[in-house]
Symmetry: D2
Subunit: 284 residues, 4 copies
């Protein structure tokens, strides 16, 4: 795939930002292959993402950063630039349920997901063989009510050891300790099996059956210290009827979960998601 | 349209119910044009709806009721039979917003909704001309914090006067008093502009914007004494993005609201909805 | 609503276009409230749409055009700039079916569609009262196999007389003569009641029933001289089942038709649609 | 899972069919857990599917068949009864593309698809390792323009050898010879990567890009001798935009393809699909 740089910017809205950025790029012959802007009126913030062909620029990322810094400073930008040829390093966390993990592994295996998968960490050993078939390291870190600090220290150590950029909770089913959420803010993605904010917490399909809703859903979001309350990246739903039991919902929900997680993860990996407050801008 | 009887049954599940009912019908040469069954395992209840060509039976509804009564009693049935040529009488209640009202009026005017519309009751006078163009009586019953008992007595009187079977809150925006909800249980349909149980109560689109959801929704449900908590008939959603303001959500939501309400109302009018507990069976 | 200018550009792709345009705008203190770009690789074309707050610029549209002309010329642009406070003038054409017409009239009446509706032209007189209730002129121009040249000359005369920008075939059911299509290329919008290219031509729901499809659809497109083959603006579908008769499809299809037409028309009115070849770029 | 018998019936519509069948069942204490009927007016045909708890009946399938035969004969039924504990035997056929095959294998591995997978036959060797990890026999039967009769004789032999009930073309990309289609009519399921009847034949995503459609789709259907023209089981679509290249469509389409195929296959395996003429009744 063609190598592109992705320039992602958040700053207070003002006249002339696009001109400054596009002048900088065109001044260096940068070929913009995709551009997205968003001016958020309520917050007065401006968001921007550009994809630039790497081979159109006369310098590398490091020099880009140096040269662009004055503009960034002038506009009060929170910004980053990434290289599509330096894919993010992802740690997948799972439990016993295989559907989300298998889906991500297959997409990665088919070159559909632009990332490296550093390892899988699971609190059960069930999925080891599936993971190892993909030549990905599998770490079994059991979690029980008595060993949590130790277990999560191990998890934290593995994330560090693999220098992971991103952690994906592929139906991990354990609540991460606050400090882990905090340290990796905006970099841990969870899939929750309900259309949040409905049915947060445990057993959402049972809650949905109890309430008699006519659609079930799934939500992909960044993890924060507050359970199931982080910035939402994507959501989708599936129609159900009175004939569907909780077991049917679990089965039908799996397809929604894995599709929503794959979509959200893809956008994250391509730097299409910008967190602002407790919401996201998604330049999909 | 062909005249049909609709036989709608709820009873404890047991072997032989379908046989009893279908024997009764075939014994009288009844031609079943549509049949739906549902055995609900958790509650041990059985639900059934048959459409029978009226002209295939040698008797009228009254005699049907007499002859069927022994079977109904034997099986402990909660049942009703209705005649497609005796459409339900509907009272529409509205406020200032026209989209749901205009949609229902147009569907009725185009012979798409099998009902009579007895009148429109509104707490503002804005929509009078639209209603009267359809040759439907319009009653302006203003509601304010100080006149509620009197206003709702008037509403209640109008519903009685028109002998209405069904009341539709087409974005009425006022909370009905508990006794009205109670008297017309299972016969008052509301459209709420959120995907319940998320964002019950006031200003759901503002709540949705605040939470940063990626889909907005609408819910059609029977009204009970608990606000926005009655049995859900239908729901649907519409995709939004970070670019959509609350005003955009309001606009996009209108289409979901009117489609969900029209669908739910149609099913109600055709006796396709059976309430059980706080849920519905919908033989759509 | 805030007054904005909409600058819509097509030109051969090259480095520096965005810089030139945004320099021009920021050089005059133009406040961009929305921006969309698309570089189409296969054709080597670049498409761009900017919304600029009118009150942020020190000049009017005419002067904008004069000042911008050199940049447009330099880049080989096909471009236009429009003013949100000069809404397009729309002629609606209908037959007997009311659903699309009623839907557009109601949206317009509710200030949801940013346009003037100049008049309705229909080849039957059925919908006169509905149109006149909205205080919109209604012209009955009957079309039959023998009077087509005369009838369409009258239609053409009316479009001229009202200085209409846009013609909407709201289930008009007559084929326009080629010269009319040609004269108003990119300005006549049709709704076809199938998911094109399937089921072009007459009685698409019958064709769909015959084929046994599981989804029916509708397509909003610009009219060209080739029947149902013009550039597609929007499409959508609705799920059906074996139980749905052709009559059910017609009924269910109406909702898809009117929603797709309303969405496509709205995008057209806001200058969000750019035709390239036989396709469209839609900056929705 | 609870053992059920599935009684599936097609016959000319008449009064009393349901009564006869339900009398038979209730006369033997049969507990119906799910029942679906459909009277197709245009063809005058009646379709019925009952699920009956196996342990509620005092006899086995063979005796059921003997006892039910008189009723079947009287009503001119085309019928079958199957046992949920004798899952169908499925042969999967694939080429190089893994997404549909991997999806079916994972669902089967997770006990989501009620079938045995007898083997995978592929005309390339690429997917051998994935298949063998699941402990399923993999047969590489290369097909080229010169060896077709021999290759398909081998395929045919394998299907016989494994006594397969059902053949699934999981993006097999080869056209089966007419006699194979004929011998296994109603038992070969294909996934075509377009919303049929649009874009039959080769390279449907290229055709879709050429036409500029705004939704892409997939169709699961029974294979007949006419390419992509057999009875449709299920279809679905995914929204695209001008930004999506053919490569994007291929990627987005994969999710639609695998979901539609999995859904259609599931319905087939549970005897929920009845072919009538070139259409299907699907009791989903």
């Amino acid at each position: 795939m063609e190598r592109v740089y992705r320039l992602v910017i958040s700053c207070p809205d003002a006249t002339g930002i696009v001109a400054k950025v596009s002048n900088f790029l065109s001044g260096h012959n940068g070929w913009i292959t995709e551009a997205n802007h968003h001016a958020d009126r309520p917050s007065g913030m401006f968001y921007m993402r550009n994809e630039i062909r790497a081979d159109s620029l006369p310098f590398d990322l490091e020099e880009f950063e140096t040269l662009f810094q004055p503009i960034a400073q002038e506009c009060g930008m929170n910004w980053r630039i990434t290289d599509s040829h330096q894919p993010k390093k992802v740690v997948l966390m799972a439990s016993k349920e295989s559907h989300c993990l298998a889906d991500i592994l297959h997409r990665w295996h088919s070159n559909e997901l632009p990332c490296e998968i550093s390892c899988v960490i699971a609190n059960h050993d069930h999925l080891r063989s599936m993971v190892e078939w993909h030549d990905i390291p599998f770490h079994h870190v059991p979690v029980d009510p008595n060993n949590k600090p130790k277990a999560f220290a191990e998890v934290s150590g593995l994330i560090k050891q693999y220098q992971a950029d991103t952690v994906v909770l592929a139906r991990y089913m354990q609540i991460l300790p606050p400090e882990l959420c905090h340290t990796h803010a905006g970099r841990i993605i969870n899939i929750h099996h309900s259309f949040l904010p409905s049915f947060a917490g445990a057993r959402p399909y049972h809650q949905a059956a109890e309430r008699g809703v006519k659609l079930i859903g799934a939500t992909c979001h960044y993890v924060t210290e507050v359970l199931d309350a982080g910035p939402i990246i994507d959501q989708d739903v599936s129609r159900i009827s009175h004939r569907d039991t909780v077991e049917d919902m679990v089965r039908l929900g799996k397809d929604v979960e894995k599709n929503v997680l794959a979509r959200g993860l893809r956008w994250h990996l391509e730097d299409r998601v910008i967190v602002h407050g407790n919401k996201t801008v998604v330049f999909s």
